[in-house]
């Protein structure tokens, strides 16, 4: 996995590349944790919960791009896993997207990667279970379910 992540990290402006399952557990990563390990874990969990809320309504999320003052955190649907790329604000986004597309196709041809994916398949809605969210959040989720 590392060699694939290295190729993405090689794009100018990329700070870190992370692969997570739908429980927000890190399976592989390469690069720095410039937003802090704890913060990164919390933020990717929040984003995975956003994705889960769309899955709840029957949509599948292809990619997201979270833009903040000093950087970007991109998400890509990596078969049944989640690929996050943290990069600087000035990253060449078209180059990054192209690289990710090529790397993902290569990786999904690799039997070891396919085996790893199959070993880590988890329901995409898991992070919205009542024991994973607080009361305030539960109200939003109920509204989504009822809509």
């Amino acid at each position: 996995m590392r060699s694939y992540l290295e190729k993405i990290k090689a794009v100018h402006g990329v700070l870190g590349v992370y692969v997570l399952n739908n429980r927000a557990e890190s399976l592989a990563q390469y690069g720095t944790e410039s937003i802090g390990k704890q913060n990164k874990e919390k933020i990717v969990t929040e984003i995975l919960q956003i994705l889960a809320s769309f899955i709840l309504k029957g949509y599948s999320v292809i990619d997201t791009d979270f833009m903040f003052q000093n950087g970007r955190l991109l998400y890509f649907n990596f078969d049944k896993l989640n690929l996050f790329v943290h990069c600087q604000k000035n990253v060449k986004i078209s180059m990054l997207r192209m690289t990710i597309n090529v790397v993902m196709v290569e990786a999904l041809d690799d039997k070891k990667i396919v085996k790893m994916i199959n070993k880590n398949i988890i329901d995409g809605k898991l992070l919205l279970r009542p024991d994973k969210v607080d009361k305030e959040e539960l109200i939003y989720i109920e509204r989504i379910e009822q809509s």
Binding site: F54, Y59, S60, I62, M67, F68, Q69, E137, Q146
Partner: protein
């Protein structure tokens, strides 16, 4: 113990009407998100009112705009001052007229903002959500079925903003087959549906400029 409730269930005009018609000497206290107000009644009229820094009829008019808030009516409480001399029904009518006027101008602002945004090349549809999550305005083709999802996203953006110590998030682009760009606009939330081939980086400066111009009004 006096009457206690929420003005969401028992509207302020009704509370005023009851106290005036029954000629109560009473104090009505209202609390709305740490803002406090009071209305004093005597001789079948409103005689004094306070809300934040406002006193008199202006305070009553401001409280009439509140959609929710805890209220309590305390009997036999005399007003500390007499600041209102108009008839209670005239005060209510004027308050309603002012609300109508404000609603009309807010509607115009929302509609103009939607028009300005959808005029940007690459933006197909737009929606503005109030801080309470209600649709303030939307272009005709916006798929409002995803409004509950958008409200959840905005709730999450707020949370992520608190987690990030190195900056304020400017927005989230999400691709669910259709592409959306979601961001804040003042106290409101803005959802933009983008054309398939739109690259967010190209139109983002225009969106940011418009949002920053409009933010003060929202």
């Amino acid at each position: 113990m006096g009457l206690v409730g929420n003005i969401r269930d028992l509207k302020l005009p009704n509370l005023i009407q009851i106290n005036c018609m029954e000629k109560n000497v009473a104090k009505l206290i209202i609390e709305n998100r740490n803002r406090f107000g009071s209305v004093y009644f005597a001789n079948g009229q409103i005689v004094h009112a306070e809300f934040n820094d406002m006193i008199g009829e202006d305070a009553v008019h401001a409280m009439l705009r509140l959609r929710e808030g805890i209220f309590k009516v305390e009997g036999d409480v005399a007003a500390p001052a007499i600041t209102i001399k108009s008839n209670w029904s005239n005060i209510l009518l004027e308050g309603m007229r002012l609300i109508d006027e404000d609603t009309e101008s807010a509607d115009r602002l929302n509609e103009n903002t939607i028009e300005d945004l959808t005029a940007i090349r690459g933006i197909e549809e737009a929606i503005i959500l109030s801080p309470m999550g209600e649709v303030s305005a939307a272009s005709i083709g916006f798929d409002q079925n995803i409004t509950p999802n958008l409200n959840y996203v905005f709730f999450k953006i707020d949370r992520i903003e608190k987690l990030l110590q190195n900056g304020i998030p400017s927005g989230l682009m999400i691709n669910i087959g259709k592409k959306y760009y979601l961001t804040k606009m003042g106290s409101h939330f803005l959802g933009l549906q983008l054309e398939d081939k739109t690259q967010i980086d190209i139109i983002l400066p225009m969106i940011k400029q418009l949002v920053s111009q409009k933010s003060a009004a929202f």
